[in-house]
Symmetry: C2
Subunit: 184 residues, 2 copies
């Protein structure tokens, strides 16, 4: 039995359903951050995931044939997450996308979410002609591609949070876990 | 103090942070369904919202100047929700969009979310040329506009759940709270 469980990105964002799945698991896998967020609910054994590749996914799926296994996913498993990598039941969690929309007062139905984290998303950025963009970005991402459009940069949500609003060509991204919101 | 709090769409989807905000509120507003989902956390007075208009939003915002007020939002306040209608702090919740993506194994970063619930979204449907679409739909929505494309229809998530997969022009929507997922 394999459950892929979203644990949110801030302390206290785990749902009741998620906490039950975690506490019933015989084995829990997760990144250091995910294990921290879920720690008070874990009662079985737990393992920190340091690599994320086909081989480890295969091992976890094999183990789940015999045991109740939970794989934790920071945020939501279906937002650039583990939900498409592993075969199992997915339990949603609060994603950084939702936090950013909440902070900015923007509705998901007026935005397009783009994963530009450690990948080239150039082609997708053309969607700015259609809607606001919410971009999961890292330090390598250069906002100046959007010229003088109005943008918001969100860094360290739930931590030492910083929200910067300005023109795209005047903003620099300094964290590998940033969200850039671009108004159409 | 006004908090707009997402309560998810299924039983048990309220986060720890959300439950605290609800239990600390002196006055709680919400639809019948939202009040049901949050009932065990409500300790102050509560009022069922039957209408959703500028006047009631103004009354709630006035009251929130003197009291700790929570407005419950089924799902997430930033998904076709109350988060853009009221001025206050938004606490995210699990939306039907997330449940649909979880069920279908699809990532939000490969889809565009469209609100076609009691509104005409015709122009936005052209985005199918760019990405998969996840459409919040009602009975009036006619899937046949997508021809023979592959679609999934999700009805009554968390309830008497039904997932139908087929061709767009062979599917009929029978519930006013449906999600239609259209593969590009």
């Amino acid at each position: 039995m394999l459950n892929i469980v979203g644990v949110g990105i801030c302390e206290g964002q785990i749902t009741e359903r998620a906490s039950k799945l975690i506490s019933q698991a015989e084995v829990v896998f997760g990144s250091k951050r995910a294990l921290q967020l879920a720690s008070k609910f874990i009662s079985g054994e737990f393992h920190e995931l340091n690599r994320f590749d086909e081989r480890i996914y295969g091992e976890i799926e094999s183990l789940a044939k015999q045991k109740k296994v939970v794989v934790l996913s920071t945020g939501d498993p279906m937002v650039a997450g583990l939900g498409t990598k592993l075969k199992g039941n997915v339990e949603p969690g609060i994603s950084s996308v939702q936090m950013a929309l909440a902070r900015l007062g923007e509705d998901l139905c007026n935005a397009i979410v783009i994963d530009a984290h450690a990948r080239n998303a150039e082609k997708e950025l053309e969607l700015i002609e259609k809607r606001n963009l919410l971009i999961l970005a890292d330090k390598k991402f250069d906002p100046s591609i959007f010229g003088t459009r109005r943008v918001a940069l969100l860094e360290n949500i739930c931590g030492n949070e910083k929200i910067l609003i300005g023109k795209a060509n005047e903003i620099k991204i300094s964290s590998d876990y940033s969200i850039l919101f671009v108004w159409r």
